[in-house]
Every structure is written in C-alpha cells, then in structure tokens.
Subunit: 403 residues, 3 copies
C-alpha cells in the first residue's frame, strides 16, 4: 500500500501543480524584469533576505528533528526514513493548501521563497505531532495523518493570521501549539495500555545518547533563523533573531539549574537538557518580532526552561497515568506549554505596544494599530483569541484524525 500511496499522491500533486501553481513576480523572468523596468522594484529580490534563513530552517526540519528524534528513540529507519518521506510529501502538499487558503491570484497559487519557508514551517508542525505518536502508527497511517494535518494547519493559519489579524511569525501558536496538541490528541485516541512494556521504548531510556545532544544543538543554533525567517525586512528580522538568541541562552541556564534541582541525586537529566533548553525558542515565536527587549526575552526564556523541566518531571507522568496520553518524545513540554506561554507573551506584548516605543516601525509589526484600525489592547485580544482557536482546531482535528 505504501508504494501505491506514494506514487498516486505524487501524481495528484503534480497534476494540481500543473493546473494551479505559477512563479510569483520575483521568480518569474518576465514579471521580475517588468517590475525593474517600471521602477517598482530596485533589484531588491526577497530571495536574498530570506534564503539564508530558509536553508537554516530546512536544516532544522530535516536534520534537527530527524537526528533528535531518531537517536532519542532508536526507531532507526522508521524515524529518519519516514520523516524524510513524510517531510518531502508535506512540503508539496503544504504549498498547495497554504496557497489555496492564503489567497490565490487570478485562480493561481503564486510561489516564491516565502511560500517555501511557510511550507517548511508546516512540515515542522507535522514532525512535532509525530513526536507524540511515534511507535504507535504504521507508515501509511502517518501519511494519511499528514494529509489531514497539513490541511487543518493551513485552515488554522488562515483564520489566525488573515481573519483574526494576529501576528505569529515564529509560530508559537500556529506551528508549536498546533502541532503539539494535534499530536497529543491523536496519541490519546491511539492509547495502548501495554505500550510501555512493549519493544517501543520511551525516550528517557536513552538519556546518555550524545547524538540527541547534537540534534538539540542544531535546533538551538538555528532557532534565531526560524523565528526571523518571515518577519519584515530590516530591524524586524534583526530584532527577532536577537531576541531568540538571548531567550535560548537564558533558557539553557535555567534548564541546567532546574534539572539538577528536581533530580533525586542532583545529577542532570539529559532528556531535560535535550528538550527544555529549546523551549526558549518556542516561547518567543510570537513576541520575538515585537519590542520585547533582550531583558524581556531572557525572562521569557528562563520561564520557558523552568516550565519545560517541571513538565517533564511532574506533568508527563500525570498525563500518561490519568489522561492516558503517552507523549513519546515529550512534545507537550517542548512545544505544547512553551507554545502556549509564547502565545500569552505575544498577546501581552501586543497589548502594551505604543507609538512612543515603535515609532514608524509600528507599520511593520502591527499594521492595523499603525493605520488606526485597532487599539493595541484589541490586538492583544485578537492574539488571545487566536490561541483559543488554535487549541480548538488542534484538539478537535487530532481527535477526528486519531479515529
């Protein structure tokens, strides 16, 4: 069934690309040169602002998630091999779904560097969900799950960013919260009481594995690129990368400190380090482009590391025993709670935005506040509603998909 699924899906995708997809203005030879001739472009191709970040995101999705998950679980081929297949499928499907929902131009989906980054982001969300269900599903089930998840991801993204007008450049809500709670709900439906004793061992068994550490460091290093990949040019990308950098650094020290505190014997738990040290990146996914300041970023990072470690220690056992959710890789602690924290931080930071602080830069970060359409406080409310919508679609979607 898998070979047939691959070939049929790819043929469908190729036909849809043939009828629906065309180059955007910056990728098309004729249109780009027409823009230059018009003087409506000064040769500044978006490609140069975004391609280095795109490649970093690409590495995070394909190596970071792959490496980290593989060596944590030792699922070997079922992890790296199928991650690769599903990722290659998801980014094509995401191009179609995101293009469809984010607005077509003259009946066509226009693709360029930004659509490539967004497709990679969507793929990342699917791989986060896999972290919760790994070891419980067959490859074809994973493929079906990714068809549904990519579609719902695009729907949710459309509602949050376009309908509600929320900001979420680094995807605290749309990528991390969505992916985590979608996956956890699927894991809940697929609950098997004997999983723990079966051959599918839990992550924490292999706590000494150096390879997982390498995966973590890859994700840690490139996270500033992840959060800043689609923010506006200039100060916005600059600021987002820097906020993420400081949030992660503070998060790392909090993680090492807390991990030793909650341990019985005072020893560090490698699973905490490998996961919680990254929570700082997740938690500034929404507010990173705002005027959060390095100070604010470090506080957020510190909190994210703290709740992530405490989640591994105290919440994961409860989830498994009481709620019957076996969170294979602890995505709730790395993506779920830090994602929700990031959404809340984003809502608060948005509500506090003033013209004194942002100046004319307001137009990039909060165009609706700059134009006078909304107050800052209402932007905060829109952010909060977006979190609720994301949780709703993720949980409901995961429930249906699981069944």
């Amino acid at each position: 069934p898998l070979p047939m699924a691959c070939i049929i899906l790819e043929v469908i995708i190729i036909i849809l690309f043939g009828t629906l997809v065309q180059y955007d203005d910056e990728t098309d030879a004729k249109l780009w040169h027409k823009e230059i001739a018009n003087g409506s472009s000064n040769y500044d191709n978006d490609f140069y602002y975004r391609y280095p970040s795109f490649q970093d995101v690409h590495v995070m999705i394909f190596i970071g998630f792959g490496f980290l998950m593989t060596f944590l679980q030792r699922y070997g081929f079922s992890s790296v091999g199928f991650n690769f297949l599903i990722a290659a499928f998801a980014l094509q499907w995401a191009t179609l779904m995101q293009g469809f929902f984010h607005g077509m131009h003259g009946g066509k989906i226009h693709v360029g560097i930004e659509s490539m980054i967004n497709a990679d982001f969507c793929t990342g969300s699917v791989l986060i969900s896999f972290g919760a269900v790994l070891g419980k599903t067959s490859p074809v089930q994973l493929l079906v799950m990714s068809v549904i998840e990519v579609t719902l991801f695009a729907v949710n993204e459309f509602i949050v960013l376009t309908v509600l007008g929320a900001k979420d450049a680094g995807g605290s809500m749309t990528i991390h919260t969505f992916g985590a709670y979608f996956g956890l709900m699927v894991a809940r439906v697929l609950y098997r009481p004997n999983l723990d004793k079966s051959k599918h061992k839990n992550c924490s068994v292999y706590h000494s594995d150096l390879f997982a550490m390498i995966g973590t460091i890859y994700l840690w290093m490139f996270w500033p690129s992840f959060n800043s990949a689609v923010t506006a040019h200039g100060d916005d990308q600059h600021r987002t990368a820097m906020n993420t950098y400081y949030s992660l650094a503070a998060c790392t020290l909090a993680t090492y400190g807390l991990s030793a505190v909650v341990a019985h014997d005072g020893k560090l738990d490698m699973v905490h380090i490998q996961n919680a040290a990254l929570a700082g990146g997740v938690a500034v996914g929404t507010a990173g482009e705002m005027m959060l300041t390095p100070f604010g970023s470090m506080i957020v990072g510190f909190l994210a590391g703290t709740i992530s470690v405490l989640g591994f220690k105290f919440l994961s056992p409860i989830l498994e025993q009481k709620l019957k959710i076996q969170d294979t890789c602890g995505v709730h602690n790395l993506h779920g709670m830090p994602g929700v924290l990031g959404a809340i931080v984003g809502a608060v930071t948005a509500a506090l935005a003033t013209k004194e602080v942002y100046g004319d830069g307001m137009a990039d970060v909060f165009p609706d506040i700059q134009s006078g359409d909304v107050e800052a406080s209402f932007q905060g409310i829109r952010q909060a509603i977006s979190l609720a919508v994301t949780l709703g679609i993720a949980l409901l979607g995961g429930l249906i998909t699981g069944m």
Copy 2:
C-alpha cells in the same frame, strides 16, 4: 611517495599562484574603491549574493560526499581522510586550470567568490569519479587521477560554456555527467574480477546505515544552493533554487514508491533512498535556471527518481557482469543517467524558449537568443552537442587516465 607528492604539488601550486593569480575587482581594496568612486558599482558586492550558497556547496562537497561515501563503504580513513586531502588539492588546482581556460586578464587569473564556487564544483566532480573507483586505487593514484581530471574538467567546461555557448549552471553535464562517466571508464580499466570477494565490500551491504542517510539529507537540503550558486542575480537564482526544491521533493516520493515496487518483499532498499532521492537535483542542473515551472521540475524529478531506482535494480548488475564496470557507489544511477536526463531536459527547454515567456529576463538566461545571434532551436542544438562533447571527453579521458 605520498608526503613527497603533497609537498611538491603544494610548492608548485604556490609558485603558480605567486606568478599568475591576483584578486579580482571586487576583492581588491584599490580596484573596488575605484569602481565605487567611478560610480560603476553601487556597493553591490557579488560576495553577498553568492557567499551563503558557496558555504552550502562547501558543506555538500566536504560533508555530504564525505559522510555519504564513508559510511556507505566503511572505508573509513581512505574515504574521509583522502577525500579531504584530494578535495583540498583539487580546489587549488581547479582555480588555476579554470582560470587559465576561462580567460586570463593581462596575463593574470582573477579570483573572487565565483572562482571559489567553480573550484568547489570541479572538486565535486572529482569526488563523484572517486565513487566509481573507491577501493580499487592507492592514494597516490587518486592524486594523479585528480590532477588529470581537474585539467580535463576545465577543458570540457571551456568548450561547453564558452566555445559552444551552452548553459549549465547546476552542472548536469559539466559536473555530474562528466564526473560519472570519467570515473566509470577508469573503473572499467581497473576491473578486477575478484573484487567482489575481496575485503572491499560493495555499498549495498551496509544498507541500514543511518549515517549514509544523514549524508543524503545534507546533499538533499543544500542542492537548491548548488544549482543556483552561479546563476544570474534576482529572479534567476530565486527560480533555480525553487525548481530544484520541487524536483527533489517529487523525486523523493517517486523513489520511495518505486523502491518498494521493484523489491521482492515490498521492503524499501536504503541504497535506493540514499541515492535515487537525490537524482532530482542532478536532473534540473541544466534547466533549473530556465522557465521550467514547478510543474515541469516535478515531472523531471519524478522521472529522475524512477530511472535511478530502475538503474540500481536492473542496470548495475548488467554493467558489472557484461561490461565489467564495477560501479562501487552506483554513480551511474545517481550522477550518470540523471545527468544525461538533465542535459536532454535542458536542451528541450532551451529549444522551447520564447520572448513571450522570458520577457527581458531572456538576457540573463539566454543572452545569445536575446541579442538575436541564435534562434531558440539552435540553442537547444548547442545544448545537445555539449552533452555529446562532455560524454566524449569524459569517456576518452577516463580511458587514458585509467591506463
């Protein structure tokens, strides 16, 4: 003999660099500032358009090929260690040879970011050839082979790009086809009937090795940078990267699908995944900068994955038994056939180029068609002749080198 060879070759290279090489206009302090003062430059240093791609290509050559080959064959040091030495040598020698053939200015070779990328490309071609002869040669033989191959690479590149005026930015012909058939011909000459039973085991034995998979993913991720590294600024680089991205994604699904179809037991063959999933990048090396469209790129990628898997399954055994070519790493399936496919796709796409589709962008992609010097159909013929020339020089050169 190896230490002497290293030191003597390096001394010769240093003397040649001392007499022949100087900074190009963008790298030289005086010349660059003179250009700015003249107003003939607006501070747009080519470095910023190409350096990120250069680093990605660098990673592909030194980590991708190294990792992939090492762990596939377990030749350990003879692979990583000597790959590194030969690559460090080849890029210096390539700077001299390519500079010599591509035109000297006032008796000097001018070097800059583009010559660095081209030297890396040439090094890649040498490493492709190694994939065919690995385990059959001594280090000094490899060094001699790379001296000859780099020289012939520069001759072929000069004929194809300058004399014939063909386009081949991603090197379907000049890098992949040349490297593969050169290496295969050397392997043919060095044929040893008992190799299979000797300690040098064939790639396919280690099919479960996760490390080879990592090497594959590295190459897969950075291939868009490889194909777009030396294309024209703006829409061309943008389009090339995107075409490669979609070709690879489609190729991956085709590979997984076909691999399971041709297997006896329906299981995936890791050697197929590790190699054939990359064929899509090779096959858009020539046409990637043209208006191939994502749709066209995906069809090419799908075909490339298909012929690559079928090559591993049906053609490689025939090559070995009938033609006595032991293709250690299957370079014929990853670089040879997909390279020829890429050359044909490039010729057809060039022949179909119209002013309606390219607009003023024609000047970047096909300057000779824009200037009216040639018809599109004749550009297609020049591309086809280039393929024939490349095959001829590669096969003849490999034959002589092998002896």
Copy 3:
C-alpha cells in the same frame, strides 16, 4: 552547587541586562525607521551582511568545538554537555563585558548583530582554553574560570583594538593566542603528575575516530566566515574569506605531507590531520583582511601546518615533561603557535601597507594610516605590541585563575 550557580548567575545577568542593555539603532523599531526617514540609512541593515557569517560562527563554536573535543577525548557529557552550558553562559556574560569595555552610549550597552558575533568569538576563546584543561577540573571550576576569562578577554580586546588601535578581525591574537596561553597556564597550575595514568586519557589515543574528523571538517569549512564575520563591508569581507580559504587549502597539503614525514612508519597521524589542518585558518586571523594576496595566504598556511605538525611531534612532549604543562588537546599546536604566527604575519603585512596597493580601501583596513595619524611601520609596531600585551594578560590571567 552547580544548579545554584546556574540560577544565581542567570538572575544576575537578567538584572544587568534589564538595567544596562538596549537595542542598537538597527535593531530598534523606532530608531531604524527614524534613520530611514532622515535619509541617514538606505535600508542597508548590517544584519544582512553579517547574519550568514554569524550562523557559520555559531556552528563552529557549538558543533565544531563540541564535536571535535568530545570525540577526541570521549569525555562524553562532560565535554558536549558542559561546553553547551558554559557557552550559553559565556555569550551572555561576554555581551555585558564587551559592551562595558567597548564603550557605552548614554549609560547603555547597545546590542546588534556585531555584538552577537563578538560574544560568540569570546565564547570560542573560552572553549579553546577548555581544550587545555579538560579532564582536570569540575564543572563549577569551569564556570568560575569562564567568568574570569570572559572578563579578561574583554579587557585585552579593549586594549588591543581600542587603546593600541591594532587590527585583528579574525582574532589570531585576541581569540586564539589569548585562549590558548590562558588555558595552558591554568593547566600548568593544575598539573597532576599522575594524570597520564589515570582514567583521563589523552587525545592521541583515539586517533582513528572518524567523528573528530567531521568536527575538523566543520571548522575547516566555516573558517572563512569566522575570519570575515566582522571585517568591513565589500572588498574586505570578500578578501578575508578568500585568503582564509586558500590558507586552509595549502595548510592541509602541508599537514598531510609533514605528518607522514615525521612518522616512524610513514603513516599519517589522525591527530595531526584533525588539528594541524586548521592552523592555516588561525594564522590568517589578523592579516586576512589585509592585501595578503592568495599567494601570501598559501605561504602562511603552509608554514602554519608545518609548525603545528612539528609542535605535536616534538614540542608537546617537551612541554609535558619539562614544563609540566599537560596540553590535553594540543591547543598550543592548533591555537597557540599558529596564533602567534598570525600576529607576526599581521604586523609585517601592516608595516608593508602602501597607498599604492590599498588605494582608498586603506580607510577600511587601516583608518589611522589613511588619516595620516600613523605611518604603516608604526601600525606594524602597534600590532607587535598587541601580541605582547595579549600574551602577558593571558599568561598572568591564567596563572591567577588557576590558583
């Protein structure tokens, strides 16, 4: 003590960031848009010139040093795990110390992409020192050592670059020489006669480890980004990257050649390859941005590889037996001597600078010569004094820290 140390230090850092640190003009929404409105900026955000290099440096610090050291010593978690913690701490502390010494603006430290790169550089220097003391210290001792070293690094950098007006973009002096001699002096104070026979094995035991080779290749590939990360825009960054590229290539051939020459049995020593092949990058750290020419760079690289291999073979045993300095990872051979060589090459190249060669580009490389404040010969003297100062502060600081 470690968890408390982490949390207390992080809280102190957060408070200091809250009171002292703010976005620089290019990272702040209001200030950047004011600059654009004024016309004092043409949208050219420094972020785009430096971020790709920053990411490469980030990879070198976190993966290159981590991988290389880990697998050389098999200290496992004590290497990767604590490298990560210390690095995450050091880059925050470095932001404060470097900001403090390099000049505050209105009582505030302004942070942007350049301060992030400089913090990474300082972190690199700390990790170099670790290479000399690894296996002799506890985690908390390492944390204390890094607090002191970062502070002294900032003091030394301030004296060399600001007070003395020397140039050292790639840090031959400030990063490599400083880090190496600081660490060696600490190692001297911590000398334990029985270390060799203890469980802490020396690097050279694991000479076949392929992973260390991967770490080497990572550092080798990204070194052009390291040296060019903070040089002036345009020709300077271009030239620095290229000089480093050729120096490393020549160094690699010298290393392979020399390593086989000095061996008893003519076989290559992997420890030489893994370390000496990188010496070429260290040795053009100062002169890389100058008009060294590819020819000059290759000679410097050749010399660096030679002294590094000879150092491993003949000097390291003497250091250990006579001077009681156990240089766990051979940092004296990779960073110490090549760093001093780099400083000398920089002094000589600076002393030879002429208006004929540099033209108006002199203003970027040697602003004080351009303005007529100093003669080229005096710039050379300032470079030489800087080397002496660096050695003095490193040795004295290491002595005090060790005690």
